[in-house]
């Protein structure tokens, strides 16, 4: 299968690297954010769908976001419309 040039490095040279651990202060910040807006999110999600659990949300937590890796997610694609 042909690779696209931008991932060639990852696949051919590096292979699959283990993800770096989330810094402790970012984990703490994320847990504080959960306290601040967690209720609103649960209420919003609960109205229309079950909140998926156990996903890789970047903080070892319980909620998976659509395409997002966490509450203070730097890895989410930045594009608005992509």
């Amino acid at each position: 299968m042909k690779l696209i040039p931008a991932v060639f490095f990852q696949k051919k040279v590096d292979g699959i690297e283990a993800a770096a651990k989330t810094p402790e202060r970012l984990e703490l910040f994320e847990s504080e954010l959960r306290e601040v807006v967690g209720g609103a999110l649960r209420a919003a999600g609960g109205a229309v769908r079950a909140v998926p659990t156990g996903g890789p949300d970047g903080a070892g937590g319980l909620t998976t976001y659509s395409g997002s890796a966490g509450w203070a997610d730097v890895m989410q694609a930045d594009d608005c419309t992509a």
Partner: protein
Amino acid sequence: MNPRIGIFTYGDDPHGHLIKKKVEEQHGAWCCLIPCDELALRGKLTWSTQSGDPALLPTVDGQTVDVKTLDALWYRRMSPKQILPDGADATYHQHINATVERVVEGILANEFQGRWVSHPVATRLAENKLVQLRAAARAGLRIPATLISQDPARIRSFCSQHPGAIIKPVATPRGVELARTAVVSQELLDSDDVLALTPAIYQECIPGERHLRISVFGERCDAALIEAKALDWRFDLNVPFRPYPLDGHLEQGLRGTLHELRLVMGIFDVKLTDEGEPVFLEVNSQGQFLFVEGLCGIPLADQFAAFLVDQVLQPVSSRQNVDIW
């Protein structure tokens, strides 16, 4: 006047929910979150030619909002894919996606008269790396020598002129594996079939280990200095992050870039050379910023909420709303 602010983003977007809460609690404004990926699921999208009728979008709390009544709209995310209700025939998913997207576009274009943060057309255009590189250069920022191509001969020629050149993707759709910025290897340069499969960004490598992530909300610029050996610091955040004061010239260049792109906010990635010269790498018109607050304490959520409320006081310029639809 009690400002009425809309946030257009994914229903489960933490940035959106946090800013909504701050806008309400810190500024007493009315705020709703319009879940761009749940519009088909929640229903109630409505528009008509009758001038007195509302133009309705569903909100995350199960209500609707008349777009005509909003003073400002944070256009943070637009989903190309709708979540379907249980039992919906997947055969029609693309039809539903396209229909919802078109109806929302029409409602916003026809009926929203407030202040965009930022305008959808400007946002989409500004996500184009080719366009933003030119805009940054016009604004007086240094940009790296760049080639975007799928022509193996041109790519090899560029990389021979710029030893240590790097490669990065032109676009990263949501939900796909992120490609990290990397040095172009000889193995890649020898692989014509890979090089030719799709264009990528080939760029002069800016030496140095000091990176800036700069949030520009209106006139305000807040920078975090990231000290990382890695070309792409996003994959390991266990590196020093700290607030970094910017000089006036760089701030002017950043604001000038936003002006060129007709944006009112942007999250910039800039690298400092070993001599301290800032080099523009890219601007994300709706970039992530909460992690920066978590890592170095700049109160960006508070600042963004204040910026959003302040937008209501700004004049809706004809340039923002008329020229680009």
